[in-house]
């Protein structure tokens, strides 16, 4: 099962490599990982998407908690949460396709942020599956390049991950 794990850690050099190293050393999967400093510059917030059985994910969170630089860990699957991912996708856009793609982008509530005579660059946010769906609607050969940030997640309402 897919789990989305959120963690707060000390914003220190090497902290990220400890997380990545833990996953490779213990054979856990990382589907995506995104990290940046928070409003408190001494802390980084990381969102990690992993796939595994409940037992494995329980071990993942325990081991993440054990890392000295990790301050807090939550498995967002334990409650209601929201997740978003940003994708930049460059597509071939010529002739009649230009209008068609524009309409599709509107349907997905994205925007075109760069235009040339041959291509569009589209910005799209949403859940990972929405981004997948957008890519599926595009003709494969039209997609020139995709860049995705990986999911970021946050608990709903009063569920707050803070020190």
């Amino acid at each position: 099962m897919r789990h989305i794990i959120s963690l707060l850690m000390e914003n220190e050099a090497g902290a990220l490599s400890r997380v990545a190293g833990l996953f490779s050393a213990r054979g856990y999967n990382i589907e995506s990982l995104s990290v940046a400093p928070t409003e408190d510059p001494t802390l980084s917030r990381m969102t990690l998407v992993t796939v595994g059985s409940d037992e494995v994910v329980e071990q993942v969170t325990k081991h993440l908690n054990k890392l000295i630089e990790v301050v807090k860990v939550v498995d967002l699957n334990d409650g209601c949460h929201i997740e978003r991912e940003l994708m930049l996708v460059k597509v071939r856009a010529q002739g009649q396709d230009r209008e068609e793609i524009k309409r599709l982008v509107e349907i997905f509530r994205g925007c075109i942020i760069d235009v040339t005579d041959k291509s569009y660059t589209i910005e799209l946010t949403g859940t990972s599956s929405k981004l997948d769906a957008f890519l599926e609607t595009m003709e494969k050969s039209a997609v020139l390049e995709t860049v995705r940030t990986g999911a970021s997640g946050v608990g709903r309402g009063d569920w707050i991950l803070k020190v």
Binding site: M9, E10, G14, R18, G21, E55, Q59, I68, V163
Partner: protein, 567 residues
């Protein structure tokens, strides 16, 4: 206003503040300023080893046989890479240790400088934590944190990498009394409600077993473990790492369990209905294949300080996360207050069953043999030292015989590399044990293959006059490899025979020690007695033992505990 001092002096002052009496190391370019400061003081004694691996093993032996943090000091590059085996050994067995490594100057990091290696990167998977010091102002706090992290929670090695320029830079020295870290707060007390549940379950048991591991030794919980076991009159088995946690000569002791554990311990583990795991982690050498171990009718209570140890290999019914002695104290209190009494008649039947298993006499061997049996040497060592020695071992058959035949009644007396299984551990670890216990009698049980992995340390022993007694069980084979090849690889002894062995007596003598070669069973006891009479000298006893002897019982890899091969 206090004066500013160099990073090198700060490092040494930190060690003094931590009460470190003895460190193990080897100098080199990146640590010259540190050595210069060590030279100028007398509080911290430096022991010069002959190879960095030995420095870490010695610090490890020092820590295991005392309750102090072991400290090793190595230089950058090859100094550090040599130390990695020792660090990984300590990590697998959760030994509190601080390793200080030199690093190339800050401005040279990343430029492939001479003797540069990414120390923090290389050691990351085998330390509890590591630090690269980038500013002399952070040095003292970093070392304080290193000692704090190493010795609290589930202990482990912590490495502090100090670039050479940091050891030259100056700042005021302030050593903090204590340190708090928002990201590191190890649990101490167990959950009271869980402890109550555990007490109820324990008292409902008909076939109980207490299974105790290295956590009991590391947390000094032996007293509480004995109290618990005596209070309940339940059987107790120790893991390889837990030997001495419960006295081996006590009638409630089932001896060691696991791959080479006793028949009674393994059978009791397999067929018990309530298992009380204390500071043990159900590893593969202990319970064999978890699928064969699992049993719907068995309830498991697991007391451990590390949440990630719980339900890792075996699903647990009542987990209690906490420091073992604290949890056991609470548990004993709960048991005493509990109105239920344990089922005495069921317990009587259980003990009867255990006695039947015991009668199988699984550790028997040919006592009439004309060739020296390795088991007999260990038994004689036990008799001659009256069970009071510190015993270190290397890895292989001799390690298992030592664990089976030396009856440890006290904790911190049995020092071996259990998790990583590091050949070459025994001799340097024994040096650390001797230095931590200057009056103790220290024996190193080893084999002719293992001992050669750190044989150079005989030179260190000479320099510091360490009167170790080395028991070399010489069967001219890598015995455990040979045993597996005999059992599982059709007697094809691929590369497990040593046909170019040194003359160990001459070798020992060349290092300035006493060497003995013992070839007849009737000479074993006398040789051991004579060796221990030489109180101030290291004696290397080369026992020429039976080449065909195997370690029994044996649970083959992938099998369950009740599927033992017996003699």
């Amino acid at each position: 206003m206090s004066v500013e001092i160099t990073g090198a002096e700060i490092t040494v002052r930190c060690l003094q503040e931590e009460g470190v009496n003895c460190i193990f190391g080897y100098p080199g370019g990146a640590v010259l300023f540190l050595y210069d400061e060590l030279f100028k003081q007398e509080k911290v004694r430096h022991i010069l080893v002959r190879h960095e691996q030995a420095a870490v093993h010695a610090a490890d032996g020092y820590a295991r046989s005392s309750d102090q943090v072991g400290v090793a000091l190595v230089t950058s590059g090859p100094g550090l890479t040599n130390a990695v085996t020792g660090i990984a050994t300590a990590y697998m067995d959760s030994i509190p240790m601080v390793i200080i490594s030199g690093q190339v100057p800050t401005e040279a990091i990343g430029l492939d400088a001479f003797q540069e290696v990414d120390t923090v990167g290389i050691t990351r998977p085998c330390v509890k934590h590591n630090f690269l010091v980038k500013d002399v102002a952070e040095l003292a706090l970093t070392i304080k944190k290193a000692f704090y992290i190493a010795s609290t929670g589930r202990p482990g090695p912590v490495l502090v990498d100090i670039p050479k320029d940091i050891t030259q830079h100056k700042t005021k020295f302030v050593y903090p009394d204590k340190v708090t870290m928002r990201s590191y707060n190890p649990v101490v007390k167990g959950h009271v409600r869980q402890t109550k549940r555990a007490a109820d379950l324990i008292l409902s048991a008909k076939r109980p077993v207490i299974y105790s591991g290295g956590g009991v030794i590391l947390s000094d919980a032996s007293t509480q473990l004995i109290e618990l076991t005596k209070l309940l009159n339940y059987p107790c088995t120790n893991t390889l790492m837990g030997l001495g946690g419960y006295p081996a000569t006590d009638k409630q002791s089932l001896g060691m369990l696991g791959m080479h554990g006793t028949y009674e311990a393994n059978m009791a583990m397999q067929y018990c209905d309530v298992l009380i795991a204390v500071g043990a982690r159900f590893d593969d050498r202990v319970i064999g294949n978890p699928k064969h171990f699992s049993n719907e009718n068995r309830k498991i209570i697991h007391i451990d300080i590390d949440p990630s140890s719980i339900s890792k290999r075996v699903k647990v019914d009542v987990p209690i996360v906490g420091n073992v002695p604290d949890v056991l104290k609470e548990l004993i209190k709960q048991l005493k207050e509990n109105k239920t009494k344990s089922d005495q008649s069921a317990l009587k039947d259980w003990w009867k069953q255990i006695d039947l298993w015991r009668a199988r006499d699984c550790l028997k061997y040919d006592r009439e043999s004309k060739i020296i049996k390795p088991q007999m040497v260990v038994e004689q060592l036990y008799n001659v030292t009256k069970g009071n020695a510190f015993v270190t071992s290397d890895v292989g058959q001799h390690q298992m015989w030592a664990a089976q035949f030396y009856k440890f009644d006290k904790p911190r007396r049995w020092i071996n590399s259990g998790g990583l299984g590091t050949m070459g551990f025994g001799l340097p670890a024994a040096m650390g044990v001797q230095l931590a216990n200057p009056k103790g009698r220290v024996a190193c049980i080893t084999g002719e293959a293992s001992i050669q992995m750190c044989i150079q340390e005989l030179s260190t022993c000479k320099q510091y006059g360490l009167p170790l007694k080395i028991i070399n069980l010489n069967n001219r084979y890598m015995g455990m490899v040979r045993q597996w090849q005999e059992f599982f690889h059709g007697n094809r002894y691929a590369e497990s025979y040593m046909n170019a062995l040194p003359d160990f007596v001459k070798l020992t003598e060349s290092y300035g020690h006493v060497g003995m070669k013992i070839e007849r069973p009737e000479d074993v006891e006398g040789a051991l007695k004579e060796a221990f009479k030489l109180k101030d000298q290291l004696v290397f006893m080369d026992f020429i033992t039976d080449q065909t002897e195997n370690v029994f019982p044996m649970v083959p890899g992938g099998k369950g505990l009740s599927e033992m091969i017996l003699v």
